[in-house]
Assembly symmetry: C2
Homo-oligomer: 463 residues x 2
Amino acid sequence: MKNISTYIENNKDRFLNELIELLKVPSVSADSAYKNDVLKTSEIVKTRLEEAGCDHVEICKTDGHPIVYGEKIIDKSLPTVLVYGHYDVQPADPIELWTSPPFEPVIKTTETHPEGAIFARGACDDKGQMYMHVKALEFMTKNDELPCNVKFMIEGEEEVGSVNLATFVKNNHEKLKNDVILISDTGMIAKDVPSITTGLRGLSYVEIEVTGPNRDLHSGLYGGAVANPINILTKMIASLHDENNHITIPGFYDKVEELSADERAQMAKAPFNLDSYKKALDIDAVYGEAGYSTNERNSIRPTLDVNGIWGGYTGEGAKTVIASKAFAKISMRLVPNQDWKEITELFQNHFESIAPDAVKVKVKPHHGGQGYVTPIDNIGYQAASKAYTDTFGQAPIPQRSGGSIPIVSLFEDELQSKTILMGFGLDSDAIHSPNEHFGIWNYLKGIETIPMFYKHFTALSKK
Amino acid sequence: MKNISTYIENNKDRFLNELIELLKVPSVSADSAYKNDVLKTSEIVKTRLEEAGCDHVEICKTDGHPIVYGEKIIDKSLPTVLVYGHYDVQPADPIELWTSPPFEPVIKTTETHPEGAIFARGACDDKGQMYMHVKALEFMTKNDELPCNVKFMIEGEEEVGSVNLATFVKNNHEKLKNDVILISDTGMIAKDVPSITTGLRGLSYVEIEVTGPNRDLHSGLYGGAVANPINILTKMIASLHDENNHITIPGFYDKVEELSADERAQMAKAPFNLDSYKKALDIDAVYGEAGYSTNERNSIRPTLDVNGIWGGYTGEGAKTVIASKAFAKISMRLVPNQDWKEITELFQNHFESIAPDAVKVKVKPHHGGQGYVTPIDNIGYQAASKAYTDTFGQAPIPQRSGGSIPIVSLFEDELQSKTILMGFGLDSDAIHSPNEHFGIWNYLKGIETIPMFYKHFTALSKK
């Protein structure tokens, strides 16, 4: 595919502008206020897939936000690649920390991205990475380089747990039939250190409500005599970790996959600089489970984090009140073999069991998903590895990610095919944070690398 | 004063309507958005004091909200009563829990108030109780029943710590010279159990900021490897109480006044029904410091309560984020002999000392005040006791309150006079809560009882 670099060079500006248009629509799936923007985004994706060469594209209604499905079948005897991505984005808050408005994309250069990066919510996660596949398809169809069949499934609920996608997949085995699933929704170690994600953590996300007295009370008249739901909530949450930062929920670690000393040694070879890690986050020290390295803590070990907490008076000044209720959102990242439904139940039972009589506690499961591992002897992995080698000039490193794409394990269960996670983002791209961005170099490199995957996968499939 | 009941009967509707007008203005001192409403309220109070017979009324500017000062000097050789109250109110949130808008007063009957109660923020604390004194003065001046001199000092910053009132008092010793200070900003045990508050708790109010990473992070990519400021904050707050609910701050209890077994036995005589207490709050159990009764926990023992907590994603749905910052507002109620500045410093030093290296912690002192005790052999207390006996037909019970009026101990230091706390509110009046109200019976009973205090205090002073 000599002409791919030329094609990218000639169409670069259009590739950028099309992505910028997509980023201007605030498709925040978690907040119903953006329902219409999410819908509008699905329609843009449909149009772009048609322009890129899909024969048949449809917007599939669900009980929530719609799924965009498209396909280009050139020969039923050839293998089929199913591309999955999502067009929804995380909420943008805290909005005041953005240096430019989250839904008014701008290109700025950074130390990591001297060629410039697009700053906008969803730039990397996942509009930018998803759109690389649309442009890669465009290249292949316009230049007669598509070596196999391709299907696209782009959803609008990844950031809220893909509940309706799960149903869609269960009900459409034939339509979604494929030989490999290709996803770009992860990162790589560095621009000069390509890597492929071979593991994902599972997720269990719950919301907690602690109720004390039936109304807010004067903290002078009742303070000390009545359970303060905020004090109780902090006590309960604090008790979920012991002094070594092990999680105290009974049975939580029972099924955790323990890596061999050899596997851990392999992992330790991945380039990592603790000082620059701390410098980048402006922290004096890292913090986590005793006995594990930073890279192990955020990849092969399960975690429990409070993602949000609120209760009582949070306005300006002082209010001497004992709140009636306190709330928290808590997520647990899980590792292979931990079942998210089982962990959610363990959490719920444990958390309710440690509540004192003086309060009422409700645990509401939000959503979750299983962890996932791709064996590196899988031909999909091998095809991806060759593709990176073609375009980066070196073989990628297999890497476990701490993130979760809950739907991936469901794909395997329902569609009996493995998922290859070809991510082109960087940890410094601030996904889920203010000032999320995606490097232009990474964006174009992805568009260049993806067609190589199709070529190698088709070839390896014939063997 | 035979004619007082007639006077009240004839002017009852006007007394209610004037209070309702006062309650319509949202004088929330904690929130700068209400600055003009606070100012407007001070002007209404000025007008009402003039109408009630004060010779000289002025609005005294401060660095914050103004103080309304008024006086009626009939004979310099007679004793002088200084009435203190406040026209500012607590914030109304959570607004959605009000059954009628907080600043649109309505009269409803309740089980406790079959004669009706005025529902509005500030109805009891303290507009309603403050205004009883204005109407009592009106009765005395219009009926030639004022037996001594009177001064009014009504401030607009009680709910935010009376910082500027303190300066005002320090700079106006001569102007504020008096023989006794009279305040109605507390409650009584029950409508048929009159009581006088003889003790107040001190207060220390602080705000906490815990900073982890310099930006919000993806909880998958960083979860487990970086200190989550919310998890850390909950751990730090939880550690402030031990398993017996004793406060763990070193030195916190050093100066706490320990009551004798006899004093505790006296206290235990006050009517209290644990079941109806729990029923009224809809709780299955009370909660507090081991070794003390409910009445002791909220009056003679110091406490530490979180009044507000916030951090991370608190919106609809789920966001898998590790917040950069977490916040809490914490207040400590103090008992006699604990110095609020010393306790604030102990808190600050301790809290900063328990912070792990992985986060930065800021403790910002908000405000505070000392506890207070009035001896029952004081002639002010005796005059109040006789006044209640006249109008309730029985002597009031001396009672320690868990609340704080930080300014009271400063009055004694600066003006060398004792404060008498004649409160007519009830615990069930929901001050600082949604649906605050004040019984019409209590309001009118206060107006009837206050002139008796003037009569008895003047008589006892002559002895």
